[in-house]
Amino acid sequence: MPPLPPTRQLIPLALAGLLATAIVAFIVVVLFMSWFSNPPFGWGNAPDQPIPFPHTVHAGAVEDGGHAIQCEFCHRNVTTGAAATVPAVEVCVICHKQINGANAKADVAEPETLINIQRVIDKHADGRPIDWERVHRMPDHVRFVHEAHLRFLTQGEERVVTLPVGNEEPMTLPVPVQEACTVCHGDVAHMEEVQPQDGQSLKMGTCLDCHRENNVSTDCTVCHK
């Protein structure tokens, strides 16, 4: 076989170079995306819920057209246990037994809202749960306890701390539960859909910064067990 002309000899080398560049670029893109995205939902978009639930209407301030229901009225395990828990349909029906299409003022509620409320009531009548999509998700090897964090923020003697989360301004503790939730979750009461990116990133660095700042243990077994 005659030797290839010099320029032709470089073709395999060039192809290998292109391939290597493509592989490296792919890895860089994947790393970039996984660092800046919220794992289950890509770029931090909230997942679609089976029934739209506007936190603005339920938890929003009265002057903003909300009902100012306290966080722990629905997420009732939040002050006592590890998980905040999503309420059972029965909790929805406590109010929506009265607030529904049958006795709504037509000028207050939109037809679409009434349909959604009716779907909640139907679920309750069927005795079936609503399959809410999880918004804030931790990896399986992390165990977060809401109770301990809310106890820190809402109880104890008056003190001023600077939390390295949120707006990083000095904060006078204790605060009411509603305010405590916003430290990590953002102002949920004014979110039509709860957006993970409006709160803290919930990356491990956030946890560690706050634990160090407040002289809380940073032993691995505090969260990983």
């Binding site: 998980a83 090897h141 109770e147 243990s217 077994t221 067990k225």
Partner: protein, 262 residues
């Protein structure tokens, strides 16, 4: 960082005189710590997951034969051979005397398994799986380990943490036998043991039931066993791993001919 929270040194005493080899601790551990169900194949391949196992020894010849049982779990050595060999610091000693395995750091080199003289570290050779519907019984406080990482007994650290939170929320300041009556932070094996052969406690708690045994063994280290007042000894004491688990010798009321009382 000095921290008021770390004022514990957890330890365990296993009384072999009380142990009947019933395996209740093994099952309790399996249930508490989300350990996959071991099949016959797993055992035949010597790859069964058992964070605590009952070792069985035969003594004597048939028909004069006796079975001896010994529960073996991670000894949480103060001088642990598994720790320095980990290239990614997935296993380390924390301030409470626990030998910690951080699952999300582990890359599965298995050096620690090979360096452990007690053979209590397990490697996940397979994806964990349970029969359908049994996944609903998984303990939510414990990570389900994935394939390719090492796992081992944690002294049920999730129960210790739960106990600490309980004490804190009740205004107490320190987790010990008095703040939580009945030792609710006991590991699952201790809680399940029907004969109370296993005891768990805090060595920094002067009133802990396990304290005298440790004091005695520590006072006569190495081969000073015969000077000890209790029956306590440590496993493979000559390896100087300083385990946090102490065994109490069996007292044999009817020894085999030609054997001593121990």
């Amino acid at each position: 960082m000095p921290n008021a929270q770390f004022e514990h040194k957890w330890g365990m005493v296993a009384d072999l005189d009380k142990c009947t080899g019933c395996q209740a601790c093994v099952i309790a551990c399996q249930a508490e710590n989300n350990i996959p169900i071991n099949t016959k194949d797993y055992f035949l391949q010597r790859r069964a997951y058992e964070w605590i196992r009952i070792e069985r020894y035969w003594e004597g010849e048939y028909p004069n034969v006796k079975a001896r049982f010994m529960p073996v779990l991670c000894q949480h050595c103060e001088n642990a051979p598994c720790e320095p060999v980990c290239p990614v610091f997935a296993t380390y000693h924390n301030e409470e005397g626990l030998n910690v395995q951080v699952y999300n750091r582990c890359v599965g080199t298995r050096y620690c398994i090979n360096n452990c003289p007690y053979q209590v570290r397990m490697f996940n050779y397979w994806h964990p799986n349970w029969p359908a519907r049994m996944e609903n019984q998984l303990n939510p406080d414990v990570t389900v380990r994935t394939r390719g990482i090492t796992e081992k007994c944690t002294f049920c650290v999730q129960r210790i943490r739960r106990g600490e939170l309980k004490v804190e929320s009740q205004g107490g300041n320190r987790l010990n036998d008095e703040t939580i009556a009945g030792g609710n932070y006991d590991p699952a094996c201790v809680q399940a043991c029907p004969t109370n052969a296993l005891m768990f406690g805090d060595l920094m708690d002067d009133n802990a039931a396990i304290k005298p045994y440790f004091d005695d063994v520590n006072a006569h280290p190495g081969h000073g066993e015969h000077d000890r007042e209790t029956r306590g000894y440590r496993l493979l004491e000559e390896m100087a791993t300083k385990p946090s688990v102490i065994y109490l010798k069996k007292v044999d009321q009817y020894p085999l001919p030609g054997k001593g009382g121990h």
